[in-house]
């Protein structure tokens, strides 16, 4: 199964890879060129072409190539997009600049980037960009920018980019083709031709841009149909472009080849002509040189004169003959003969008399006048005679200015040497020939024999009007290459030259037809090549078109098939959804769903598996279709590591659908693969079923078709799985709701039972347990029940109550009451395992179960629970024979009920105990109160008597000592007086002590008032009271504002009096006593303090400070009884406050006391 999306993606990847690879290739080519330039290895920059890639070109390739590469590799963000835009824009701008510079022939050395480059190729400097290259770069820049900037709104830009890339492709193709055929385009012209590497790099860049543009177009998403409609046009256009490219490449190539060939031919012709002219000139010179040997040769003249004078003189004759003969043979003269002035031939070599040609006689008379050597051009002596040339050498008498005595004629037969020489052609050439002509009147006279016309020599003459004929042009003075027609009228090309010092003109000519023969051959080759390429291009485009068509139809077919399939799935979906709405029971729904999937959805197999809550194993709950033993082999458990990675297991673990497109190829399926294949199952998909987020199982579909499940199918099935999940959730919620309702009912029932139990305060435990047991049976819908208490160490169970039904049904006469925990059967398990035990299938074998004795109530189901009090199990309650299975709710109900009952029993016991204790307590309180009262009374009496009876004697001692002192004032010695004083002082001290003890004791007993007190006022009063003690003292008082408080004014005043008095007392040693009274507000308390700078105390003893009779100073230092602070503490404590102190020896002390803010503080 192929999906259009996947295909598109695949193609996208392919195009992506192409674009990246091509872009990189272009960039690398540029890099290689630069490397070549840098290392001086120009081959790397030229790839063997006559021109190397310019540095600027290389840089632009790197820029463009990497731009495409990077852009395609990773589509940019906004910033990168702008960077690419700007970089390529700059590149394009540079390309435009370079194009104009190159076009105008302005070659700036900046293009060499500092590398010294010189030299030319084909007449233009190397190292500069070709205008064509620059132009291509401009195109490339625009293509990239257009494609890059295309948006979904304007896909036209990408299309423009595409066409521009096509254009680059075309150009580069032409360039490359030109190289392929031999000559670079523009080579030898005015412009710099692009290098081979440039052409190749452009092919790469063109492909990259093309791919990029297509990607950009693709990304704007075009439907298949639209693509198809467009595809044919595009393909035709592509073909046309290719064709135009191929043809124009061929044409350009041919054109250039033709030119080249022609030039070559012309060069050959010229060379041949030149050579021949040179040789002709030489030949003539030689001939004239020969003549010069005899001309003005005295020896020869003498011999001729002698011979003429005396023809019989054999010696002269012989000598002369020998001489001439030597010449004749040596230089291959046709005939050398000697005439006398009368025109009579006197000697000839060879010695064969011939009649004298009449024109010779004319020349003779002329030469006799001119006495000059005359070159007699081609002529015939007579019309029937062969053509000869002749050199006429006058034989002069005497050295200078002598008269002509004879004429030596060197007759030359051109056939012998000249004609063959002229006619000789150094190369092969059927029509190539050399001819010499001379002007003869108004004609051009052909002087030698022609290949194509017999007896042309001296016969063929062409009027000078016929200027198209090269010979005529030669005669008219043209030099060089001419084109025209020859004497036959066939077009020729010829090199024409005048032979210097002669009337001759040389024409080296060749039929144009012959010149063009190889060219035509080449043309054919090119045509055939072009034809072949066109065929290839056509075939290629045709193939692509066919492929496109095929794909189009395939996709159409597949779409139709898909729709059919989807329809099927949709029908299935709809049916199952209906089932979901209709069916109220999960099992039925699962079965229906599977059945519909197979019947309507046409799946080969559909099944639903659910996870077992406890074992975490997947259990097949419903299936339809061909399952064979396949489903039995499925063994998936989430508890252990996956056994296989089949879709079912993976879906279960991942919680998302898992597809297996080809079962036969999926190695993960090993365990079930073969069975599935045997069943003809080839692809499958599994969907997890989730209920409130947790995976409960899977629904699985199998088909006999590989690659069956596509995206949409999966989407719909996914929905289906969700619907089933939803239904499951609904069922669960429904069940849960029902269960909750049931439980609520049970709860209510239990509550009522407990309430009832609560009312049974005064009932016996037996009543309570019986009632509870009957309620428990009712709540759990059981038939029987029992209840047993456990002893302290949980070893023995004492059966306490049986339900009525159990009692009625039981046939055991002597029921045991005591059961040791260790040996009891199944129902002891709840104690042993310390948890509720449910046995819904009582008949099933069970290791714990002991068979019950004969006559025992028949048990089908059983459930019992331990009831805990803290850690200890206090009782076991059990129920049995519920018509349906016991569940968690039953366990809960029984547990809660029994726990409630236990609490009530406990409370009842506790209440009884409390009542007992209360009574005891009351009695004890009465006793204690009486004791206390007695003690109080005693104390009162005691203090009263102390007050009365202790003070009296002291007073008496004091009184009488005083009297004694007064009476004996004069008679008593000093020592005795001192003793009396001591007694008096001691008595006084004793009096103080007693007073203080009494006040202290009073403070503990006195009733307290409770009034609002202004502390400021209280302190003032206390100070007033202490006025006597302040007499003459220099005390700096610092009394801060103090709060109003509740308390007993006289007591608190006493506190202040004590404290201030203390402060005064202990600071009296200080010259500048300082006493500070203040107050800190605490959260709950008022904290008062009094600070003095007096004697202070050692913090070591601070804990003793407030104890009665406790003194930290000696009596000599500071008098006192040690009751004051004890009183302070007592009063403050009675007010619910605290006292404490801080101090340091000789640095003063601070005494604090706190009083609670709340009024309730009172004892």
């Amino acid at each position: 199964m192929t999906m259009p999306g996947a295909d598109k993606r695949k193609e996208g990847h392919f195009l992506n890879a192409i674009a990246q690879a091509s872009g990189a290739l272009a960039a690398v080519t540029g890099l290689v060129a630069i490397f070549g330039w840098l290392t001086g290895n120009l081959l790397l920059a030229s790839f063997g072409s006559p021109v190397p890639m310019a540095l600027s070109t290389a840089l632009l390739f790197i820029l463009y190539g990497s731009a495409v590469f990077l852009r395609v590799r990773k589509p940019p963000g906004r910033i990168m997009y702008r960077i690419w835009m700007s970089i390529v824009s700059i590149g394009t701008f540079i390309a435009i600049l370079l194009f104009f510079l190159s076009y105008l022939g302005i070659y700036l050395s900046i293009e060499h980037l500092g590398i010294p480059i010189s030299g030319t190729a084909g007449g233009v400097p190397i190292g500069h960009i070709s205008p064509l290259t620059a132009f291509c770069f401009i195109l490339a820049g625009f293509s990239f920018l257009a494609a890059l900037s295309s948006t979904p709104d304007s896909p036209g830009r990408a299309v423009a980019g595409f066409w521009l890339a096509c254009l680059i492709m075309l150009t580069s193709f032409v360039l490359f083709l030109a190289y392929l055929l031999g000559t670079p385009l523009l080579y030898g012209g005015h412009f710099i031709p692009p290098a081979l590497s440039t052409s190749l790099a452009f092919v790469a860049l063109g492909i990259a841009l093309l791919a990029f543009a297509i990607l950009q177009i693709r990304s704007k998403s075009v439907t298949v149909e639209a693509v198809d409609k467009r595809a044919i046009k595009v393909l035709i256009l592509v073909f046309l472009i290719l064709a135009v490219g191929i043809i124009s490449a061929g044409y350009f190539y041919y054109h250039s080849y033709e030119k080249k060939f022609r030039a070559e031919v012309e060069r050959q012709l010229s060379a041949i002509a030149e050579m021949k002219v040179d040789e002709l000139v030489d030949w003539r010179k030689e001939r004239l040189g020969d003549a010069a040997v005899f001309y003005k040769n005295d020896n020869f003249s003498v011999r001729v004169r002698q011979y003429f004078k005396t023809p019989e003189n054999a010696e002269a004759k012989t000598k002369l003959r020998t001489w001439i003969k030597q010449f004749q043979s040596a230089f291959e003269y046709d005939r050398i003969f000697l005439l006398d002035t009368r025109g009579v031939e006197r000697m000839s070599v060879p010695d064969k008399p011939e009649p004298i040609a009449p024109h010779l006689l004319e020349h003779l008379s002329e030469i006799m006048r001119s006495r000059q050597v005359t070159f007699l051009d081609f002529h015939r002596d007579r019309p029937d005679q062969p053509i000869h040339l002749a050199i006429l050498v006058p034989v002069l008498d005497g050295q200078e200015g002598g008269r002509v005595i004879g004429l030596l004629v060197f007759r030359i037969d051109p056939q012998k040497y000249l004609y063959p020489f002229i006619n000789r052609w150094p190369m092969s050439g059927k029509t190539a020939e050399t001819l010499i002509v001379r002007r003869d009147g108004n004609d051009a006279l052909f002087l030698n024999e022609q290949k194509f016309q017999k007896n042309a020599a001296l016969n063929l003459r062409i009027p000078l009007e016929k200027t198209e004929i090269p010979a005529v042009q030669a005669v008219l003075g043209h030099q060089g290459i001419v084109e025209g027609k020859d004497y036959r009228g066939s077009p020729v090309i010829a090199s024409v030259r005048a032979v210097p010092d002669s009337p001759w003109f040389l024409v080296a000519r060749m039929d144009i037809s012959e010149v063009y023969t190889p060219l035509r051959e080449r043309l054919w080759e090119i045509v055939i090549l072009i034809g072949a390429l066109l065929v290839c291009a056509g075939a290629g485009t045709g193939f692509v078109w066919r492929h496109q068509r095929a794909r189009y139809y395939r996709e159409k077919y597949e779409a139709a098939e898909r729709i059919q399939k989807l329809n099927r799935t949709l029908a299935m979906l709809s049916d199952i959804n209906q089932a979901i709405v209709r069916i109220r029971e999960s099992q039925e729904l699962f079965e229906q769903a599977c059945r519909i999937a197979v019947e309507k959805g046409n799946f080969s197999l559909a099944w639903i598996g659910l996870l077992d809550d406890s074992t975490k194993e997947l259990r097949v709950v419903a299936s339809a279709g061909k399952s064979g033993v396949y489903l039995e082999k499925i063994n998936i458990s989430l508890m252990d590591d996956p056994k296989c990675y089949c879709p079912v297991d993976s879906a279960l673990r991942k919680g998302e659908h898992v597809i297996c497109n080809v079962i036969g190829q999926d190695e993960d399926l090993a365990p079930c693969q073969k069975i599935a294949l045997d069943l003809g199952l080839h692809s499958s998909v599994s969907f997890p079923l989730k209920v409130s987020g947790s995976i409960r199982g899977t629904v699985n579909f199998y088909t006999d078709e590989p690659y069956f499940f596509d995206e949409e199918e999966i989407k719909m099935l996914d929905e289906l799985a969700m619907d089933i999940s939803f239904a499951m959730e609904f069922f669960e919620k429904e069940t849960e709701r029902k269960r909750m309702e049931e439980e609520l009912k049970h709860n209510e029932s239990r509550m009522i039972a407990l309430l009832e139990l609560n009312r049974m305060k005064n009932s016996t435990i037996q009543d309570i347990t019986s009632f509870t047991l009957e309620e428990a049976i009712r709540l759990t819908e059981s038939k029987i029940g029992y209840l047993a208490f456990l002893n302290e160490d949980e070893t023995v169970m004492t059966m306490y109550a049986w339900s009525k039904t159990a009692m009625e049904e039981c046939r055991i006469s002597d029921k045991p009451i005591i059961y040791p925990v260790e040996t009891t059967g199944l129902w002891g398990e709840a104690v042993r395992q310390r948890r509720p035990i449910t046995t819904n299938d009582y008949r099933a074998p069970n290791p714990w179960k002991k068979s019950y004795p004969e006559g025992h109530v028949h048990i089908t189901r059983h459930m019992n629970i331990p009831v805990f009090d803290g850690e200890r199990i206090v009782l076991v309650a059990g129920v049995g024979n519920k018509p349906t299975d016991y569940n968690e709710s039953d366990v809960n109900q029984l547990t809660l009920l029994m726990e409630g009952m236990w609490r009530i029993i406990q409370r009842q016991q506790a209440e009884t105990k409390i009542k007992q204790l209360n009574a005891e307590l009351e009695q004890r309180v009465i006793e204690r109160t009486a004791q206390l009262e007695a003690a109080n009374k005693e104390l009162e009496t005691f203090s009263y008597s102390v007050s009365h009876d202790l003070r009296a004697p002291i007073r008496h001692i004091a009184g009488f000592v005083e009297l004694l002192t007064v009476n004996t004032a004069r008679s008593l010695d000093e020592k005795s007086g001192r003793y009396l004083n001591i007694i008096a002082d001691s008595t006084k001290h004793m009096g103080h002590l007693i007073d203080d003890i009494l006040s202290f004791s009073r403070m503990g007993r006195a009733e307290m008032q409770q009034t609002l007190i202004k502390s400021d006022q209280l302190v003032k009063e206390a100070m007033n009271q202490l006025q006597p003690e302040m007499g003459g003292r220099n005390v700096a008082w610092d009394i801060r504002p103090l709060p109003e408080i509740y308390g007993d004014p006289s007591m608190l005043k006493l506190v202040w009096v004590n404290l201030i008095s203390n402060a005064l007392k202990y600071s009296r040693t200080q010259p500048h006593a300082k006493i500070e009274i203040g107050y800190n507000d605490d959260k709950d308390d008022h904290i008062f303090y009094i600070r003095d700078n007096g004697a202070g105390f050692d913090m070591m003893y601070v804990h003793k400070l407030f104890n009665i009779f406790q003194r930290l100073h000696r009596a000599e230092e500071f008098e006192g009884t040690g009751v004051g602070l004890a009183n302070v503490r007592r009063i403050v404590q009675r007010h619910g406050g605290r006292t404490w102190a801080e101090g340091k020896v000789n640095e003063g002390a601070t005494f604090y006391f706190s009083l609670p803010k709340a009024k309730k503080r009172l004892e």
């Binding site: 203090s943 009263y944 007050s947 009365h948 009876d949 003070r951 009296a952 002291i954 007073r955 008496h956 004091a958 009184g959 009488f960 000592v961 005083e962 009297l963 008096a984 008595t987 006084k988 004793m990 009096g991 103080h992 007693i994 007073d995 009494l998 006040s999 009073r1002 006195a1006």
Partner: protein, 151 residues
């Protein structure tokens, strides 16, 4: 002209009596002091019965009453005085060693005119007695029916 009035001192302790009388003597008050050694005697004296039947009638200007007394204690004496039509106006000053609050309350409840705690200090004691004597025996105008002696 100062009128000395008679003082009834009810005190069981002879040392106290001595000290008290010693103090009163300084102002010549001692002569007019009749000392009763217990509550019964005090009442007998006031009612002129028993051994005191022959005593001239007339109430003392003040009764200095100790609380702790043999036979009939001070409060009972006070109670009897205050409940008797003839005696109830006699100013009674409790002169006691007790500083007990309860005693104080009890005393005032029963209509005592003054409550003096006997200071332990001799000087304070004599001072207090003197002031007491001066106040009650000299300065205070007693209710009618009390014995007066003009000096």
């Amino acid at each position: 002209m100062l009128t000395l009035k008679s003082i009834l001192l009810v005190e069981d302790d002879p040392k106290d009596i001595e000290l008290t009388l010693g103090s009163l003597e300084e102002y010549n008050l001692a002569n007019e002091v009749f000392v009763a050694r217990d509550g019964a005697e005090a009442l007998d004296y006031l009612y002129r019965r028993g051994q005191f039947a022959d005593y001239p009638s007339g109430n003392p200007a003040v009764i200095l009453l100790d609380l702790k007394l043999p036979k009939i204690d001070g409060f009972e004496v006070l109670k009897t005085i205050r409940s008797d039509e003839r005696l109830k106006f006699i100013p009674v000053a409790i002169l006691t060693s007790s500083r007990e609050h309860n005693d104080l309350i009890q005393g005032y409840k029963l209509g005592v005119n003054a409550y003096i705690v006997k200071p332990v200090d001799f000087h304070q004691f004599t001072d207090a007695i003197k002031k007491l004597g001066i106040f009650w025996a000299v300065l205070n105008e007693p209710p009618p029916g009390c014995v007066k002696k003009t000096t």
